[in-house]
């Protein structure tokens, strides 16, 4: 990149499109910290790979406890992603388009789970929906439903921490695309619902991919809120991250093998859906 830059005549470069230049010319001082950032993100995962006990790997990865946790993780994370979409997408539209007063406060409230340590989120859920929490007691007395210690509690915990990613992603997309298409649709006589279906939803699609991937990934990795709110029991609430934590107490090789499962799923998700979704959004 740089030699090509230098060989180009000055005048020509000055006249060249500014977009072109900003895309190719990375200032030299940025390379070092950028490399360090990459190292910080990638090296620990490589460190994990060095701890793998190859002789025991197949047996450990296919151990019933690991497979149970994997299945539960995939099921609950998918459910949390769907729930986030069903509830979070409408919320994103409201945040981006409505003229409610106090919208700023609402927006901050949506960001709260991103900032809170997940354990705090788990405690908060427990004090609301636990057997002694106000809503939890109501549910138990009225319907005989106990939320904690169920897979539903896992989904709730995952949705709590993951939905903000979807809301923020979609809301950002809506706000950058602006409301002019919707206004045009309205002037052409379309009602709000028709406008939503035919104009707003298509506007959301490019951002949907990346937002869904982020949401699913966050739900898959959820640990703190789940262990605090839902507990930890094989097949019911012990998702892969919880199983890794519990197993690491006694058998580190098995915990590393399970971690590898999680890394592979994460890579698959990124490879299959991630880049395409992100590129679609960038262009």
């Amino acid at each position: 990149m740089q030699p090509a830059d230098r060989s180009a005549p000055r005048t020509q470069r000055r006249r060249g499109a500014p977009v072109e230049r900003s895309r190719t010319g990375v200032p030299a001082p940025l390379w070092m910290p950028a490399a360090m950032a990459l190292a910080l993100l990638v090296l620990p995962v490589l460190g994990l790979l060095t701890r793998i006990e190859l002789s025991r790997l197949p047996e450990l990865v296919t151990a019933p406890a690991a497979l149970d946790a994997l299945e539960l993780s995939l099921r609950t994370s998918l459910a949390a992603t769907v729930l986030s979409l069903l509830l979070g997408a409408p919320l994103a539209v409201v945040l981006a388009r409505s003229r409610l007063r106090g919208l700023r406060v609402l927006r901050a409230a949506v960001l709260l789970p991103l900032v809170l340590p997940p354990v705090v989120g788990g405690l908060a859920l427990l004090y609301l929906l636990g057997r002694t929490g106000p809503l939890g007691r109501l549910l138990e007395d009225a319907f005989g439903v106990t939320v904690p210690y169920t897979s539903a509690a896992v989904v709730l915990a995952q949705t709590f921490v993951a939905m903000p990613f979807l809301v923020v992603g979609l809301e950002g997309a809506l706000r950058t695309s602006g409301a002019r298409y919707e206004r045009v649709a309205a002037t052409l006589g379309a009602g709000p619902w028709l406008t939503f279906r035919r104009v707003t939803v298509p506007l959301l699609v490019p951002a949907l991919g990346s937002s869904l991937v982020l949401t699913f990934a966050r739900a898959l990795g959820e640990f703190g809120a789940t262990i605090t709110f839902a507990g930890s029991l094989r097949g019911t609430t012990r998702t892969l991250p919880l199983a890794i934590y519990t197993t690491a107490q006694s058998d580190v090789d098995a915990a590393v093998a399970m971690s590898l499962l999680l890394v592979v799923i994460a890579l698959l998700v990124i490879a299959l859906v991630g880049p395409k979704a992100v590129e679609g959004r960038g262009d």
Partner: protein
């Protein structure tokens, strides 16, 4: 422009903070680092204070965690002076990893009890009540010492528990009981006592047949080997026994 300057100033502050955190506090005296099982928290704080009082200039720094987690950290090369575990199985791991200097010695014993919330909402009276359908029972996962002790109790009594959750340490079990999220939990006698009025302890006879011991050992690579050996000896002495007894531990 001012934005850049502010960013630079922010980075500078961050750097100072980081380097400040990296620096060890050096008070001139010696600091003994003791890694101990979470269930020893209250008793060891008192013992540490007594030990410091008898050894001027010596500070005892504790790290209380699940025994197994500490054992794994030691195996991974964490350096400390003394390790005190909640069972012999976990200690054996450290010995097998050749991280122990000398033989571990038992300094206390502990056993399980049933902890129920103050009002005992599920009306638990015995271990057999925990196996009934209905009460939400929380125990430790078999991978940690209190869970291993729970399995021992199940084996001895033939009572099969079906817990709603298996926690990774005994304090998590206790907290679920205190919060009223569990109708009963199997915890150590000492934890139930430390919780005071918040829980009620219901003893069951079989727990006396599943007593387990707390061994301590001086670690290889200790910063202060002699001082560490002295602390390990101190744990066997009458003063330490008295403190441990006060918190509900038995004597070996």
């Amino acid at each position: 422009m001012s934005g850049h300057r502010r960013l630079a100033a922010g980075l500078a502050v961050l750097l100072v903070l980081l380097t400040g955190c990296a620096g060890r506090d050096s008070g001139g005296g010696r600091t003994l680092t003791v890694l101990a099982a979470a269930s020893l928290t209250e008793a060891f704080r008192d013992i540490g204070a007594k030990f410091s009082a008898e050894h001027p200039g010596v500070r005892v720094r504790f790290n209380f965690q699940g025994s197994t987690l500490l054992a794994e950290q030691i195996r991974q090369g964490r350096s400390a002076d003394v390790y005190a575990s909640a069972d012999t199985r976990t200690m054996a791991k450290v010995v097998r990893a050749q991280a122990a200097a000398g033989q571990p010695r038992t300094f206390a014993t502990n056993r399980l009890t049933i902890a129920v919330p103050a009002g005992n909402p599920a009306g638990i009276a015995s271990l057999a009540d925990l196996a009934r359908p209905g009460p939400a029972v929380v125990v430790c996962a078999p991978q940690v010492p209190c869970g291993a002790a729970t399995q021992d109790v199940e084996r001895i009594t033939g009572v099969r528990l079906s817990p709603v959750s298996e926690e990774s340490n005994v304090k998590a079990v206790l907290n679920k009981v205190i919060a009223g999220e569990a109708d009963a939990g199997l915890v150590y006698v000492t934890d139930a006592r430390a919780a005071g009025e918040q829980v009620r302890a219901i003893d069951f006879p079989a727990s006396k047949r599943a007593v387990h011991s707390y061994p301590a050992v001086v670690l290889k690579g200790a910063d202060h080997p002699e001082l560490a050996a002295e602390f390990a000896r101190f744990l066997q002495g009458t003063q330490a026994r008295e403190i441990l007894g006060k918190y509900g531990f038995g004597t070996p």
